[in-house]
Amino acid sequence: MFTLIIREIEDNRVFFIAAVLLAVVFGVLFVYEQFYGEKYESVIIPFGFAISIPMAMAFCAMGATQMYWDKTKKISALLATLAVNRGQIFTARVIAGFLLVLIGFIPIAGAIISAVSKLNVSFLPHHGLYYEILIPSLLLGFACYCIGLQAGWTSNRVTAILGALGLNVILIPVIIIKGFGLEIYAILIFLIAACLIRAWYKFSTAAF
């Protein structure tokens, strides 16, 4: 399984290298601002929020890329001839996707934490608000990846790109519309589950 995950990361190294670079830059900036920064000035907040939508697009693109290459290059068909089954390949793929979401979420998390603490948008020890905003945002990032899995399952590159882009544009506003209550958790968790089930169904019943 570990080898499969490594292979997935290597296959999509462009995404991972970009995400790690951004995470390192924002991590250093975040630490600097926390200890030496001005109280009401921040670089992380505007840049973090500015890259949040491109980052969601990147998560989606990762999912779409994984499925698109699998569909066109028959990667899983080749791997299935070795001592691995389709379930392991799919699990490794999703784990790699989740890893990318976690790494790519670091700049966004930094921006959210900075915004909540510096701008004093809410009341009292802000721990609750951190979680209320961070967890749905992370779930949304993973949902974008899962939507990418749907859009990428085609042998037409244009359909894959436009599909991923369109579905992402539709999905991202959900957090703006529903806010940070329980409903957003329910919607995103069910959506992620539905996307993974559908992707697995397509992946496991595909004829090669």
């Binding site: 609750g128 519309i177 529903k178 806010g179």
Partner: protein
């Protein structure tokens, strides 16, 4: 898991994805046209002015006046040369009403209070400068007042103290002898050292004075009393008592013309001993405290006489399907926003700066209560006298017709497109909106994706008028959605026959498409069998290559040889 079950799970998963994504698209469409309708409303229809308010003794009968280009700080010209009457000025902010459909904005700006943390504490107040707070510790049932002192020129805490208050007193330690509050309603206070609360369990009012170190027990509701307070006006006095979301109510007292200064002077003499002054919302003496009941009734709690008497109610604003229901009481969950502004005449009896009730003579004059309809399309304000009788009611109107109706008639195209967008929702959700739209909170209703309590059909569902009207309007409102669903169901059925679904599958897809409309149709298109059909040698129609028999005529792949009949045609 067999293939049929796998396929069913795939269909459900696909259906959910389609439903969520389609609902988001439809939401954006509805929001755009709803914002257009709200934005199209004239400025005058966002305000209500009642002048004279009728709350000041000696003024003539109150009446609603036409709003002109006024603001709360610039009252209209004098009614008489040297005097102008008191007035109630109510306005709402259309941007904030539209913003109620943006959940993230709403959640962040709402400053969610009370906030709960992992330690089972409910926070009511937080002083950002002093980093101090007031909270309820749910485990002990005690109210905690936290104080922090800081070293000068240093952020580090010098000293931190906590006081614990229970029904029986205040202590620096959480002692069992303090008793416990079970389910208290606490309102944030201007003075965090003085808190008023109502304990739902013991049904008693309390007043906690952290500065004085005392807890005084107040009025207790009897066992048979069916009143259930849900909010009380903090004894300490709060900024505004409301669930204010884009609603501003102000009572402007009578003013006299000061010829020497050349300006209007307000008759606010509350801080002096010269005479009675008029004050809205803040009773310095804490003698009269408004209490809101869960039924929408408002009572005045007299702390001196320890009595709770009727003072008014939340008025029901007009909606598209209702007329002016003068005496209807709205429950707090029926309206998008409400605000209650009590009015007092206060006279200081003795010199000094203390705000003890004994230092004041207070007369309760009545109150102004304003509500915004749950759809955000209309607003109502009612003025009550000290005995809780309605003096005057004002509604937002445009040319004498309620804004709840003119909003749609002023922009018919936007209203029609909004209606059509609503009808792209599945019929089953339309029916649910009709039946249970009332069970949704007004604000989340604006952000609803599936069941739409603020849709046309949802508004009709809340209409408690004649049954006849509901029967007439319901099929009209749900008609387009139903027609679309039936048409899509027929298309699905036709296609299912072509691709060779079983009769059971066809039946379920037809029922599903009638119930869920467009999302079901899209789901069908995404999950239908995609085999390339071939021509049946027996019947000549298209048949599935993956099935043993033709789903049209039932013949097998290998056709039997044609055997000549035993009969012959003879002359």
């Amino acid at each position: 898991m067999n293939a049929r079950m796998k396929n069913l799970i795939n269909v459900i998963a696909t259906g959910f994805i389609v439903l969520v994504l389609l609902s988001l698209v439809l939401f954006c469409g509805r929001l755009f046209f709803w914002a257009h309708l709200i934005g199209n409303m004239p400025e005058d229809s966002l305000r209500v002015i009642i002048r004279p308010s009728g709350l000041v003794p000696g003024e003539p009968a109150s009446q609603q006046t036409k709003p002109q280009n006024l603001s709360a700080s610039e009252p209209p010209g004098p009614n008489e040369p040297n005097f102008r009457y008191s007035q109630v000025y109510v306005s709402r902010n259309r941007e904030i009403i539209i913003g109620s459909a943006i959940g993230a904005l709403w959640d962040i700006t709402a400053e969610v209070i009370p906030y709960r943390d992992a330690n089972e504490r409910v926070y009511y107040w937080y002083g950002s400068k002093s980093d101090s707070y007031i909270c309820l510790d749910k485990r002990s049932g005690l109210i905690i007042r936290n104080y922090k002192s800081f070293k000068p020129y240093d952020k580090s805490v010098y000293r931190e103290t906590e006081f614990y208050a229970g029904p029986n007193g205040i202590s620096e330690k959480a002692e069992p002898s303090l008793g416990r509050f079970y389910d208290p309603i606490v309102t944030e206070g201007r003075d965090p050292n003085r808190i008023g609360l109502y304990d739902k369990n013991t049904r008693r009012f309390y007043f906690i004075d952290f500065a004085g170190g005392s807890v005084s027990k107040g009025f207790q509701l009897a066992q048979g009393d069916n009143r259930e307070p849900i909010a009380d006006y903090s004894v300490a006095g709060i900024e505004k008592w409301s669930n204010n979301k884009g609603l501003n109510v102000s009572w402007i007292g009578p003013e006299v013309w000061n010829a020497e200064k050349g300006e209007w002077e307000k008759q606010w003499l509350s801080r002096t001993s010269k005479g009675y002054g008029f004050v809205d919302w803040w009773d310095f003496s804490h003698t009269f405290i408004p209490v809101l009941d869960k039924t929408g009734r408002i009572h005045i709690y007299n702390t001196k006489e320890q009595s709770l008497s009727p003072a008014g109610y939340l008025p029901m604003p007009q909606s598209l399907f209702t007329g002016e229901r003068q005496n209807d009481v709205a429950m707090p969950g029926d309206v998008l926003a409400y605000e209650i502004v009590p009015v007092y005449a206060i006279k200081r009896l003795s010199a000094g700066s203390g705000n003890s009730p004994d230092n004041f003579d207070v007369k309760y004059l009545g109150m102004c209560v304003a509500c915004v309809s749950r759809e955000g399309t209309s607003m109502t304000v009612v003025v009550f006298d000290p005995n809780g009788r309605r003096i005057c009611r004002g509604d937002t109107t445009s040319d004498g017709i309620s804004t709840a109706k003119t909003m749609y008639s002023d922009a018919p195209l936007a209203g029609t497109i909004l209606f059509l967008f609503e009808n792209l929702q599945p019929p089953v959700f339309e029916v649910a909106s009709f039946l249970c739209g009332d069970y949704f909170e007004p604000s989340p209703g604006h952000r609803a994706l599936f069941i739409l309590p603020n849709s046309f059909v949802g508004m009709l569902g809340r209409f408690k008028g004649l049954q006849y009207d509901r029967e007439v309007f319901f099929p009209i409102l749900i008609g387009p959605s139903l027609i679309l669903s039936i048409w899509l169901a027929l298309r699905v059925r036709k296609d299912a026959t072509i691709v060779g679904l079983s009769s059971m599958a066809k039946k379920w897809w037809t029922i599903g498409t009638i119930a869920f409309g467009l999302p079901a149709y899209i789901t069908y298109r995404l999950t239908r069998p995609k085999e390339t059909l071939v021509t049946c040698q027996n019947c000549g129609q298209l048949r599935r290559p993956d099935m043993e028999t033709c789903h049209r005529c039932g013949s097998k792949w290998e056709m039997p040889e044609l055997t000549p009949p035993n009969w012959r045609i003879c002359d």
